[in-house]
Point group: C2
Chain length 333, copies 2
DNA sequence: TTGAAAGCGATACCAG
DNA sequence: CTGGTATCGCTTTCAA
């Protein structure tokens, strides 16, 4: 920058202002400097800028296991929307394993302006670090931990809605395949579902699960398929599309027609579940809006202003596929 | 850091050295400082360090469309392996669209030590920026562009291997569904396949394609299914697993048995293709090794040392699934 | 083995 | 409107 200033015959501070469109710089001087910068291929060093300015322009991103396409879709939204706000993502973790200390430390070392945690599990270490250092924190698809704001889909309502629809369509023996029993997302979805089944006076739903994976759904599907027909459920909720896909695969492999003999529904609305051969009936998370709100929450907390932690819940969108028998009023149109 | 130095009764430079395990600092002083830093929760500011040191510890990551799970898997490897080397990823792009100028600029603004481009398409802008600014660049799953090194799977060999196996197993009417006609990956895979088909004296393979997506594979599958039986191919290669999954879905939906009536094979080895209901016979890219080599290449070019661009090609691993009829010698075991 | 001082590249305040 | 100067947090000579 010094050499640029010399070449332009002005002071460094003038260059600095010109390049950031400071209003109180004369247009002609600014144009000359901008042109010169362009010419010599000068790019401001954000690291140096952050040093004095305080803000790094970085958002830490902690991702969950990306074998669940939901996280991949979330990530894509995060990159795009963050870029639109002039922020960059520091990707510090992606995967199922616990986040390491060195990794969590990076959030502080790089002075991230905020942190986005999308993993339903294992986020505690990163969350603690953010709390201890007043780094704004927003969790997506996850209930707020001790500290931090959160944006999620109304999981309970999603489960309840699907239960209502299945029941209205005449299903009587329902089942639910859960994910990780320690994650709020999985629990709430199952709870909402089960509550409505009970409210309808139907028998207690069968319950399976333990991990949020295709394999676990497949396993549950095999067990269900092996049940003698009278005991066999006529409708199953996979608490995630990934699980629901596994269920459906197992049932079909066992020669059971979906939705002919058993209806299957999921939650998330990932692309893979919506296309053939699944055409899943599911409740899609409003990803675009969720990320928008998440970044809003971060933004509001980024300039040093303290604000109370905030929890935002958005309603999901019912996606009518062909994996479940639904009330005629929905399928007629 | 100044306050830390004051509290410890030493100079800032001593603190700096102590925290980085400089050998020429007395152990007791170092321990005292480290303990104190721990106590007050001090974290070094890497931005400031980079300012003087030169290296930011950041690797720019440009990702392709993550609806293809291949890119998601690649990303997970990238994060893990980069972390193991003490690097962090600056995620500047993910998705199908072209990379924007502002995004590409971020690579320079944050002074990334190197750049990893995994998108088979649209990487030119980022690549150009790296070239113009001597930022080490490695492309993964993509042939080298004008500038930069590259690591990829031997795509041609993968296509050739699958053709050989299908032919050996007795298939006679082959077809190939390509991806984006401008990407080296897609072209090479198809070329290898077609070359072997010709070499075997079989009729010219049917060709479909245009985009690397499930939808495009599905479309091609529908067309294939609609062909009158005598013209219908008895084996199809989808140049990516994503495409192959689409093909298989369409065929099965049309009531055609896979692999009973038509064999389907893919390339990539993504998790989704290997599990039920696909159980794809495919050539898996050695992701772990590819990322390892990619980071090696970056590392060798990162400390200012100039090295010639390098291209590394790794052989893929045949994954025997159940989506294709294969020679008995392979399926016997 | 430790300390003092000079930067690294930018911004911001205070003058002019 | 523009120029000097202190400063951000850390590393790195150069001395002691």
């Amino acid at each position: 920058m010094a050499s640029l200033a010399r070449a332009a015959g002005v002071a460094a501070s003038t260059v600095s202002r010109a390049l950031r469109n400071d209003p109180r710089i004369s247009p002609d001087v600014r144009d000359r400097i901008v042109a010169l910068a362009q010419e010599v291929g000068y790019t401001p060093n954000i690291l140096a800028r952050s040093l004095v300015g305080g803000s790094s322009g970085l958002i830490g991103l902690v991702l969950g296991p990306v074998d669940n396409p939901f996280y991949a879709e979330l990530m894509q939204r995060a990159v795009t929307q963050a870029a639109a706000r002039g922020w960059r993502l520091l990707l510090v973790h992606a995967g199922p394993g616990p986040i390491e200390q060195a990794t969590a430390d990076a959030l502080l070392q790089y002075r991230v302006d905020g942190c986005l945690i999308t993993s339903a599990e294992l986020s505690s270490r990163a969350a603690r670090i953010c709390r201890d250092n007043q780094v704004p924190l927003v969790m997506v698809n996850r209930v707020a931990w001790e500290h931090g704001s959160a944006v999620s889909c109304d999981n309970d309502a999603a489960g309840a809605l699907l239960a209502d629809l299945l029941i209205e369509a005449g299903h009587r023996r329902l089942a639910v395949v859960s994910g990780n029993p320690t994650t709020s997302t999985s629990i709430e979805r199952a709870d909402g579902f089960i509550r409505r089944v009970r409210a309808a006076g139907l028998p207690e739903p069968l319950r399976f699960g333990g991990v949020n994976s295709h394999a676990k759904g497949f396993e549950a599907g095999q067990v269900i398929a092996a049940l003698p027909a009278p005991d066999r459920p006529d409708a199953v909720l996979g608490v995630s599309d990934l699980i629901a896909m596994g269920i459906m695969d197992a049932l079909r492999e066992a020669g059971i027609a979906v939705p002919g003999e058993i209806s299957v529904v999921g939650i998330d609305g990932v692309a893979a579940a919506r296309r053939p051969p699944y055409r899943m009936t599911t409740v899609a998370q409003p990803l675009e809006d969720m990320m928008e709100r998440a970044l809003d929450l971060l933004n509001a907390r980024m300039n040093g202003v303290h604000r109370a932690d905030e929890v935002v819940t958005l309603r999901g969108d019912l996606v009518i596929g062909q994996s479940a028998r639904l009330p005629a009023r929905l399928t007629a149109g």
